[in-house]
Symmetry: C2
Subunit: 260 residues, 2 copies
């Protein structure tokens, strides 16, 4: 480690990095996001997303195994390191990661989840984690969905963010038209829809739409669904949590493809 | 409303109520918990759990429709009301609810979810909400699980807490023995288990065990499972969120019983 330890909260680089957790606009402008903690840093390194590692002075020995991977390392005084962290008791390591450039729609693959105004960061992160487990291949999000590269979403993904490509669009309706033209089954949960677990033909290409926590899927977007299904609701609950509904729909897809 | 408006943060009743959001011990000692906001207050009234309604002075008109149900009402100055709330922008109404007395195990019914050290309040609340939707009948929790009557859990239940009986025990292992003697299928997720979606006979009585977010199900409790199943993990994720795993297992039960 050739560079000196950064000891000032006023260091211009530190000040810039500190903005990364504040807003999506800053992350895009700087082309970076912060993956905090040992597990996320490991995932960032493994998935070749880490462009620089920052480590707290007192944590250098603990994380020595992560600091000799060829990725440049900067040591920060503990209080300076803590100023970059969202968690109350930082583990002492983080990765500065490249904010992915916009990809093409094709990169999302054949199993897509589409988020229409999902605003809770925990839900967005948990959906990415479940996609990764269920073998879903790409996430499509509109402008009203929580930024997948914000600190709370990242934490909930448990590293899956590095493996699932994300396509962001402000024209979700038109994007779904393109998927429809490409023979996607576009699924929407709907209290007036067909029974969810009834047997049906499965298309090779699937896109599951998940709506806003309060308002559900917007009418304009629901129009684009090729199939509306009602997940059984037997008790007194009026709705399911967005990440739970997404998981039930994704794993039904896993089961159906296994059966057939 | 005959009683005067409470205007002092130092009022002895206000000071007592303020402790209710702080600890499980206080809730048990006072025999009360706080259901905050319009939706939760409505659910508390409907499910006959509300013993008193507290309303902010400025919100009296807005919530007039909830204040004539025969349940006693106390008006508080806005700043006093806010001191009882966990949310940053309180809606202006809350219900003081009776903390349920310990029930018998039989009250849990035939479809049980068992939580073994589930510590994230959002997970516990989301599981209760999903149980309510999936027709599960009772929640069994050990001493290391987040208190279902704490503010964050309550919020995530969206009111389902009032419909699902909860049995708390410090002897979870023995309680599972009793379920086993009563012919329950006791399911545990296990990476070494049988394939989750394979066809199998279903018992009338089901108990799904969900383990701690980091450590999973403890070895002693996993011993008690009569069936270990591996939910398919196809991508890079190492595990599922606890509430997601619970939802997949519950809705597989719903599907199997629907199929016949």
């Amino acid at each position: 480690m050739s560079t000196p330890i950064l000891t000032s909260l006023q260091n211009p680089m530190v000040k810039k990095w500190r903005l990364l957790n504040k807003s999506r606009a800053e992350r895009i402008a700087q082309g970076l996001f912060i993956a905090e903690g040992e597990h996320m840093t490991q995932e960032a390194i493994q998935n070749k997303s880490a462009s620089m590692l920052l480590v707290a002075e007192s944590a250098r020995e603990k994380f020595a195994h992560l600091l000799n991977t060829g990725i440049s390392v900067q040591v920060l005084a503990d209080h300076v390191f803590a100023s970059l962290c969202e968690t109350k008791s930082p583990q002492g390591i983080l990765a500065l990661c490249s904010y992915p450039a916009q990809i093409t729609l094709e990169k999302l693959g054949h199993r897509i989840v589409c988020l229409n105004g999902v605003q809770d960061p925990g839900n967005v992160g948990t959906i990415l984690r479940t996609m990764d487990a269920a073998g879903f291949t790409g996430l499509l999000i509109d402008g009203n969905t929580a930024d997948p590269y914000s600190p709370k979403v990242l934490r909930a993904t448990m590293g899956s963010i590095f493996r699932i490509p994300v396509f962001q669009t402000k024209q979700l309706s038109q994007t779904l038209d393109v998927l429809q033209q490409n023979d996607f089954e576009i699924l929407a949960g709907d209290l007036m829809g067909k029974p969810f677990f009834n047997k049906r033909e499965r298309k090779e290409n699937t896109c599951i739409i998940i709506g806003n926590e309060g308002a559900g899927i917007s009418p304009e977007i629901k129009e684009k669904a090729t199939l509306r299904l009602k997940i059984p609701m037997m008790g007194g609950a009026e709705s399911l949590n967005a990440a739970v509904a997404a998981a039930i729909m994704m794993y039904d897809d896993v089961r159906a493809r296994q059966d057939g």
